[in-house]
Amino acid sequence: MADPALRLQALVKRFGAHAAVDGVDLAVALGEFVTLLGPSGCGKTTTLNLIAGFLAPDSGFIALNGRLVQDLPPFKRDLGMVFQDYALFPHMSVADNVAFGLKMRGVSREETATRVAEALSLVKLDGFDARRPNQLSGGQRQRVALARALVIRPAMLLLDEPLSNLDLKLREEMRGEISALQRRLGIATVFVTHDQDEALTMSDRIAVMSEGRIEQIGTPAEIYERPATRFVASFIGSINIVPAKVAEVPVNGFARLETPAGPAIAHVGSASSGRSVMLTIRPERLKLAEAGGAPAGAVAWSARVVRVVYTGARLEVQLRLADGSEAVAEATNDGRTSLGEGQGIVAWFRPEDAWIIAGA
C-alpha cells in the first residue's frame, strides 16, 4: 500500500506545563481533504504549525509521503501553506509573490514566467501580475496566497483558517472554489477551521479536536450523525441531549431507555457500556404531531410548545418536555403549521434517528 500523503503519530507539543497537542494520530491519504475542526485553543493551529515545521514537536513523528520530516526546517518540507492573514509579501508585486517559491528552487526564468501565469489563471487572476498586495481586495489576496502556495507543486497543501477574514458571501464562494481546485489538482490538504459549516461542506474527512486531542475523525456525515462523544455532538450543529438509563440489555443494536421525559428506544451509538448514558437527537429529526398522531414504532413524548422562532425556511420550535427540561425541534416552514405558545403536543422520533453516547 502506498504511503499516505501525511501521517502524524503520537504527536505531542507542550508549552510549559500545558500540552497544546496531546498525542495526535492522523493519516491523510493522497488527494484527501482533511479538516482539523475545533474551538480556539483546541490545538488545531499548533498541529498545523507542527506539520509545516514552524514548531518542533516534543515527541512523535510526522511523515510526508513516507519520509520522516519532524526534524527538517520548514523550507525543506515542500509544503504549500496559506495563512489566515494571507501573509503576502507587501513589497513585491503579485507576480513576484507567486514566483517567490520558484525563485528559491532555482527554476529558470522562462519556466517561472509560464508557471506563474498558469497559477494566476488557475485562481482567476490573469492580468493582475503587476499589482501590489495592498491594491487587492481580501478575496483577491486570498487567491494570490493560494496561487503562491500551489505554484511550487507542493507535496501537500496546508490551509490555516483561510476564509475567516472574508465576508460571508465571499467566504461561501471561496469555499466552493477551494474545494473544486483541490479536487481538480488532487492535492492532499489539511484545512484548519473553527467553522463547522466549512468543515462539513468542504471535507472528505473531519478530525474534531478538543484540548489537544482528536475526539473523533470521520466523514462529515459520520461526525454529524454518529458523534462519538458529547463534545463532538454539541460542537457540530445543535442537538438535544437527554440523560437516560439503560433499562434492558441492548438487542440488535437498539437499547431500551428510561429518560425523565419518558421511555425511549434508541440506537446504541457510541456508548459501549454503562447504565447511565445520553440520548441525542438532532432537532430536524425530532418531529411534532397532534396527540396520538405519532406513527407506530416511534418514540413519542408529550411536550408543550414554549416558543416558535421563525427563521424563514424553517421554524425552530422550543419545547418543554414532561420533566420540565427543554428541547428543540426544527420543522419545515410548509405554511400549514400552526403552533401556539403553551400548546400541548407530541414530540416523536424514530429509534434509528436517536443516537446514544456515553454518559457525562
Binding site: 509545516a52 515545521g53 514552524f54 526546517p73 520548514p74 523550507f75 518540507r77 515542500d78 509544503l79 504549500g80 501553506m81 495563512f83 489566515q84 492573514d85 501573509a87 503576502l88 509579501f89 507587501p90 513589497h91 517567490f100 517559491g101 528559491m104 528552487r105 503562491r148 502556495a149 511550487i152 496546508l158
Partner: protein
C-alpha cells in the same frame, strides 16, 4: 479651500498657537539670527555690520576646518552604521524571544539612556586611556609591550557615541520589527527560503524604514554631539560642535561660529532629506 479653512472652529488654532509661538521665539528667530550673523564680516571679536560671505570661504578653505567638517560627518556615518549593525540583531532577539525575561532584557537594552552622557563617556575614558583597562589587559597578556594611544582619537569618539546612541537604534528597529507580521517570514520559509534568504528577501526590505530611521537618529545626534568629542577627542580631533564652542567662547568670533553652525545645520538637513528619500523609495 480657503473658505473651508476659515470656517474651522478656533480651538484647534489656539492649541497650535502656543507651541508655534514657542518654536518661533526659541528656534526660528535664533536660527535666523545665527544665519544672518554668519553673513556679517567680523574684525576679530567685533561684528562690523558689513555683509559678506568671507566667513564661509574661510571655513571651507582652511584645512583644519575642512578636516573637522569631514571628520564630523565620517564619525556620524560610522556611528550610524555601527548602531544599526549592533542594534538589529539585539532588536530582532528582543522582539522575537518568548523568554519570561523579555521585559527585563528590553529595559536593560535601553538602560544606557538612564545614565548621563558625561558619566558614560568618562566610563569609556577610564577604559581607553593610557593606563586604562584595555591597555592593562593587553599588556598583561603580552600582546603589546608599550601602551597604545587610544585617546584622544576619532575612534574613541565613535565608540563612545555608538554606545550612547545604541538604544535609539534598538528602539526604532524594534518598532519596525514589531510591525512585521511573523507569518510573512514563515510564508517565505514554507516556500523554500532558508533563514538567510528569508532575512535578505523579506525581513530586511520590510524593516528598511526602521533601519533608515535608526541611522538618521544616530547620525543626527552624533554630528551635533559636543560632550563626547570634547572628552574622548582632543585638539587634533576637533569636530564641528567643539569648533563652534571654540569660536563662540574662546575666540569670541561669533561670525565664524555662526557660519560653522549654519554649515552643520544645512548639511545635516540635506543629508536627512537624501537618506529619507532613499528610505521612502524602498518602502513603496
Amino acid at each position: 479651500m480657503i473658505a473651508a479653512v476659515q470656517s474651522r472652529p478656533i480651538v484647534p488654532f489656539l492649541l497650535v498657537l502656543l507651541p508655534a509661538a514657542f518654536l518661533l521665539f526659541f528656534f526660528v528667530i535664533p536660527t535666523a539670527f545665527l544665519l544672518s550673523a554668519s553673513f556679517i564680516e567680523s574684525d576679530g571679536v567685533i561684528m562690523t555690520g558689513v555683509w559678506t560671505t568671507q566667513n564661509y570661504a574661510d571655513l571651507l578653505s582652511r584645512p583644519l576646518y575642512r578636516q573637522a567638517i569631514l571628520r564630523t560627518f565620517l564619525i556620524g556615518i560610522a556611528v550610524g552604521v555601527i548602531v544599526i549593525v549592533l542594534s538589529y540583531p539585539l532588536a530582532y532577539f528582543l522582539v522575537r524571544t518568548t523568554s519570561p525575561w523579555r521585559g527585563f532584557l528590553i529595559a536593560l537594552s535601553l538602560s544606557p539612556l538612564l545614565a548621563s552622557v558625561i558619566v558614560r563617556t568618562y566610563g569609556w575614558w577610564v577604559i581607553l586611556n593610557r593606563e586604562g583597562a584595555v591597555n592593562t589587559a593587553l599588556l598583561s597578556i603580552g600582546i603589546i609591550d608599550q601602551p597604545l594611544t587610544l585617546l584622544p582619537s576619532s575612534m574613541a569618539i565613535t565608540i563612545g557615541l555608538s554606545h550612547a546612541l545604541l538604544p535609539y537604534g534598538v528602539l526604532t528597529i524594534m518598532a519596525s520589527l514589531n510591525g512585521l507580521n511573523p507569518n510573512i517570514e514563515r510564508a517565505a520559509m514554507s516556500l523554500g527560503a532558508g533563514r538567510i534568504r528569508t532575512f535578505l528577501t523579506v525581513t530586511l526590505p520590510l524593516t528598511w524604514p526602521g533601519i533608515v530611521g535608526g541611522f538618521l537618529l544616530a547620525f543626527a545626534i552624533a554630528i551635533s554631539a559636543y560632550a563626547t568629542p570634547a572628552i574622548l577627542g582632543g585638539p587634533g580631533t576637533q569636530v564641528m560642535a567643539t569648533l563652534i564652542r571654540n569660536f563662540m567662547v574662546q575666540a569670541l568670533d561669533w561670525a565664524l561660529g555662526s557660519a560653522m553652525g549654519a554649515i552643520l545645520l544645512v548639511s545635516s538637513i540635506a543629508l536627512l532629506l537624501i537618506t529619507s528619500a532613499l528610505g521612502g523609495r524602498r518602502v513603496g
